[in-house]
């Protein structure tokens, strides 16, 4: 009998964090994680990212909050969430019981808010990382206000960096002209990794009623429609920074995920596709493993960033 050596799926995300495979689930599309337990064992994920958390619970935007567009959707949820305290008290123990690797996505109106949430989460031993949402297009204050300039992102990143020793990821917006410069600013300010992309600002209107379809007027576009933009931005940022890049945007299959790894991402996050097929992230893990095995590639690290340019 010949021993079959399984491909090594583990990836190093910097800041002392290594995860068992490069597949994560994107914030805001995976609830608090446990909602997916009926569909598969969530400990199989490289990491799951919970819904954006703020200092106090947030009510969110009025409905209509979502609308479907061609191969995508617009959302204007407005970061409705239970707040960091309830997360730590009620959710963390259950994620630990489930054996899941999990990270928290955080959001605030002011830099002090971000700092406070990061400090509180630093006390949670089981938490793998903190992902700073500097890019939500659906809230008036905070979010994208910080994420749209290198100076803004640097100030916010430094602030949160001082508040936590956890691995720190900064999640970037695509709604900017030079995403590379912003990623670089996050790196220099102490981020351990950058995550991109968040949603693209979009608009949907009804030509009969002459009204916007979302109560918030504009929303964030996600899903397969944004994949080419995301892939380009991830590729661009991978050439600009030395820290790991986590790629997101329209991933629905192992092939999609492999494309992001190919352009240099260390890991990927799956968002909207979880709504279509709640098992998709587990299927992507299996698909990546099967691909590497078939192609006789020893590890994800060996495949990563091997795009051949003309």
């Amino acid at each position: 009998m010949t021993a079959i050596s399984l491909p090594d799926l583990s990836v190093n995300l910097g800041g002392g964090l290594s995860i068992k495979n490069p597949v994560m689930t994107a914030s805001g599309t995976f609830g608090y994680g446990l909602e997916f337990s009926p569909f598969y064992d969530i400990s199989r994920l490289g990491c799951l990212i919970v819904k954006g958390l703020s200092r106090e619970p947030v009510l969110g935007n009025p409905p209509q909050r979502i609308v479907e567009t061609a191969s995508g959707m617009l959302n204007a949820i407005g970061l409705q969430n239970i707040g960091v305290e309830r997360f730590v008290r009620d959710v963390v123990p259950r994620l630990e019981d489930a054996g899941a690797t999990f990270a928290a996505n955080i959001y605030g109106k002011t830099p002090e808010d971000y700092e406070a949430v990061a400090a509180r989460l630093s006390e949670v031993d089981a938490l793998a990382a903190i992902e700073v949402n500097a890019s939500c297009p659906n809230v008036k204050e905070g979010g994208i206000a910080f994420g749209s300039s290198p100076e803004g992102i640097a100030r916010l990143t430094e602030r949160v960096r001082r508040a936590t020793r956890k691995p720190l990821w900064v999640k970037l917006s695509p709604n900017v002209t030079d995403v590379g410069a912003i990623a670089k600013a996050a790196e220099e300010a102490g981020a351990d990794a950058v995550t991109l992309i968040n949603t693209l600002v979009g608009l949907a209107v009804d030509h009969r009623s002459r009204r916007p379809k979302l109560a918030n007027v504009t929303g964030g576009l996600s899903g397969p429609a944004i994949k080419p933009v995301a892939l380009r931005m991830v590729w661009e940022v991978c050439r600009k920074v030395k820290i790991p890049v986590i790629g997101i945007g329209g991933i629905q299959s192992a092939e999609d995920a492999l494309e992001f790894l190919l352009v240099g991402a260390s890991a990927v996050q799956i968002g909207t596709a979880n709504f279509r097929n709640p098992r998709v992230a587990a299927e992507v893990v299996e698909g990546i493993e099967a691909f590497l095995r078939t192609e006789k590639i020893a590890s994800v690290a060996e495949y990563r960033g091997t795009l051949r340019l003309p």
Binding site: G28, T29, F30, G31, E35, F36, P38, F39, K51, L59, G60, P62, P63, Q64, R65, I66, V67, E68, A70, S71, G72, M73, N75, I77, Q80, G223, P224, Q252, T272, N274, F275, R276, N277, P278, R279
Partner: protein, 274 residues
């Protein structure tokens, strides 16, 4: 019991037929039996590709097992792209289902009379409740079905419970069948002369267009009649993770947003901010 557990399932269409001018009925074979509470629903997708991207919510109309085969049925009306694509699927085509979802009707009230009110395709949510009540001889019920015109009423052969002890009322906006007027008018008529003590024992179960539900909620509240309303909203996930489907609900003095797919789709009409 695995059968009633939430899951993502792949099934095969065994029947997908149009009835009357607008309703389709789809039957899907599944590897496992499905158990559900009337009012619960499924997220359904079956078309190839990712446009439309999201699955569509439909009430579970029926489920059954026969000779080791398990199936689930849906009734739908073609209103847009997703339902148009569904109506073009054939026997043997694969479909994906996430089910059973949401909180259905509470039929546990002892000694209550239920008035089931279905507007348009809303009957698909209510017929399973009729079946459940017809099996419980203790509970009395009346069924009110409404449509814009005669051909927008459910096909007669689908009306449940042949021997059910309940009473049936039809109504149409244009008067081409049954009561001439809306379901709200029909219910107002029906309430006339019913003593307050009897009204207090009635629960309305309703599903239909928003203006109908809103009208009924006002009528029920004024008459001291309890009402459970099955709401519809645009959904992305259907199982409580995206927070896209929320509706405004009274939370003491304040308003809270609750998920139609998780805390609903059936809500106490008094709690809904209409």
């Amino acid at each position: 019991m695995p059968s009633s557990q939430l899951g993502f399932r792949k099934g095969t269409i065994v029947r997908n037929e149009g009835h009357g001018s607008i309703f389709y009925r789809m039957e899907v074979d599944l590897p496992e039996p499905v158990r559900f509470v009337p009012g619960q629903f499924a997220m359904v997708s079956g078309w190839p590709g990712s446009d439309p991207l999201l699955p569509r919510p439909f009430a579970i109309f029926r489920s059954g097992s026969n000779a080791g085969r398990h199936s689930v049925e849906f009734v739908y009306k073609v209103v847009g792209r997703g339902t148009a694509l569904l109506s073009g699927l054939h026997d043997g085509d694969p479909v994906s289902l996430t089910l059973p979802l949401g909180r259905g009707f509470d039929l546990s009230g002892e000694g209550r009379t239920y008035w089931l009110v279905g507007g348009g395709v809303g009957f698909s949510t209510l017929f399973p409740a009729v079946d459940a009540l017809a099996h419980r001889k203790a509970a009395g019920f009346e069924l009110f079905l409404g449509g814009r015109t005669r051909d927008q009423l459910p096909p007669r052969e689908w009306t449940p419970g042949g021997q059910a002890p309940g009473r049936f009322h039809l109504c149409t906006d244009d008067g081409t069948a049954g009561f001439h007027g809306t379901l709200v008018d029909a219910l107002r008529e029906r309430m006339k002369g019913v003593p307050a003590a009897d009204l207090a024992r009635i629960t309305i179960l309703a599903c239909g267009p928003h203006p109908m539900l809103k009208g009924l909620a006002g009528l029920a509240a004024g008459a001291g009649v309890a009402m459970q309303a099955s709401l519809e909203n645009h959904m992305a996930c259907g199982f409580g993770v995206c927070w896209g489907c929320v509706t405004a609900i009274r939370d003491g003095e304040a308003t809270a947003y609750r998920r139609v797919c998780k805390e609903g789709p059936v809500f106490d009409a008094k709690e809904v901010v209409w």
